[in-house]
């Protein structure tokens, strides 16, 4: 009933430019949330290699030749995976910061500066991500 009249291009494009802080925060939070769930599932799938590994010989385990350790090491050797991990960190940090912002908003704190807190979350995310690059990429080359 209240669907918009089809205004063609006007409705479809260009609108994003009219988005305000709160809307961007919402979109980013959504996006990061979804990425995190996606990661959670993949993460558990990868870690599950620990189940067959636990059946292997202690020596094999000690040498780090088990399925689990091998999988992780192989993955960690890929530069792509390292970069993705940095991305994951960015995503997680933003989600945490903005999530904290949302928690405060839910408590009725800082409603007037909600746009500022969003920008702060963005900037902090950027800083933390950049600062962690060395640690994350260490040993990848």
């Amino acid at each position: 009933m209240s669907q918009s009249h089809n205004r063609g291009l006007i409705e479809d494009f260009g609108r994003w430019r009219e988005f305000r802080a709160g809307m961007w925060a919402w979109i980013f939070h959504k996006f990061t949330g979804w990425v995190l769930v996606g990661y959670l599932f993949t993460h558990i799938a990868v870690l599950s290699t620990a189940i067959p590994a636990s059946g292997q010989e202690t020596a094999v385990l000690q040498a780090g030749d088990d399925v689990y350790t091998q999988t992780i090491v192989t993955l960690e050797e890929l530069l792509l995976v390292r970069i993705l991990e940095v991305g994951l960190l960015a995503v997680a940090v933003f989600h945490i910061l903005n999530g904290t912002r949302l928690l405060f908003i839910d408590l009725g704190v800082g409603l007037e500066s909600q746009d500022k807190s969003f920008y702060a979350s963005l900037i902090l995310t950027g800083l933390i991500t950049v600062a962690s690059v060395p640690t994350f990429l260490a040993g990848a080359f």
């Binding site: 959504k30 769930v37 599950s48 960190l89 997680a92 945490i96 904290t100 994350f136």
Partner: protein, 123 residues
């Protein structure tokens, strides 16, 4: 709108749980990241080291709790997002079932993994 008076819609409860899990996750996720990327570098991971951590009861329970809350928080978040997009009726029911099944699978698999490290539930 028939559902207007149904105070049984657990909207409020789920909303509150989403916030509570979020607050919990802030701490745990930060700890998790810190531990596995900064204290122990990612490329130094091995079964033995992981197993060693997991054999401690407190760490084990924390991780299980982490798993459960993260799963709840994530899956409930996804579900809410879909509802907000106007998902209703049979589709909604189907999505709900799928998500619940996926969560159960995820948690079961996660617990089995943890047990693998700990060699059973550490007691």
């Amino acid at each position: 709108m028939a559902e207007r008076y149904s105070s049984f819609t657990p909207g409020g409860t789920m909303w509150l749980l989403q916030r509570i899990t979020a607050a919990f996750l802030i701490v745990v996720l930060a700890f998790h990241f810190f531990l596995l990327h900064f204290v122990n570098h990612a490329d130094e991971v091995s079964f033995i080291v992981s197993a060693a951590r997991m054999e401690t009861l407190s760490y084990y329970s924390l991780m299980i709790l982490f798993l459960v809350t993260a799963t709840f928080h994530g899956v409930n978040g996804v579900y809410n997002a879909l509802i907000n997009q106007g998902l209703t009726g049979r589709k909604k029911q189907a999505v709900k079932t799928t998500l619940i099944v996926a969560s159960v699978v995820l948690i079961v698999q996660g617990v089995r993994t943890a047990n693998a490290w700990a060699g059973g539930v550490p007691l």
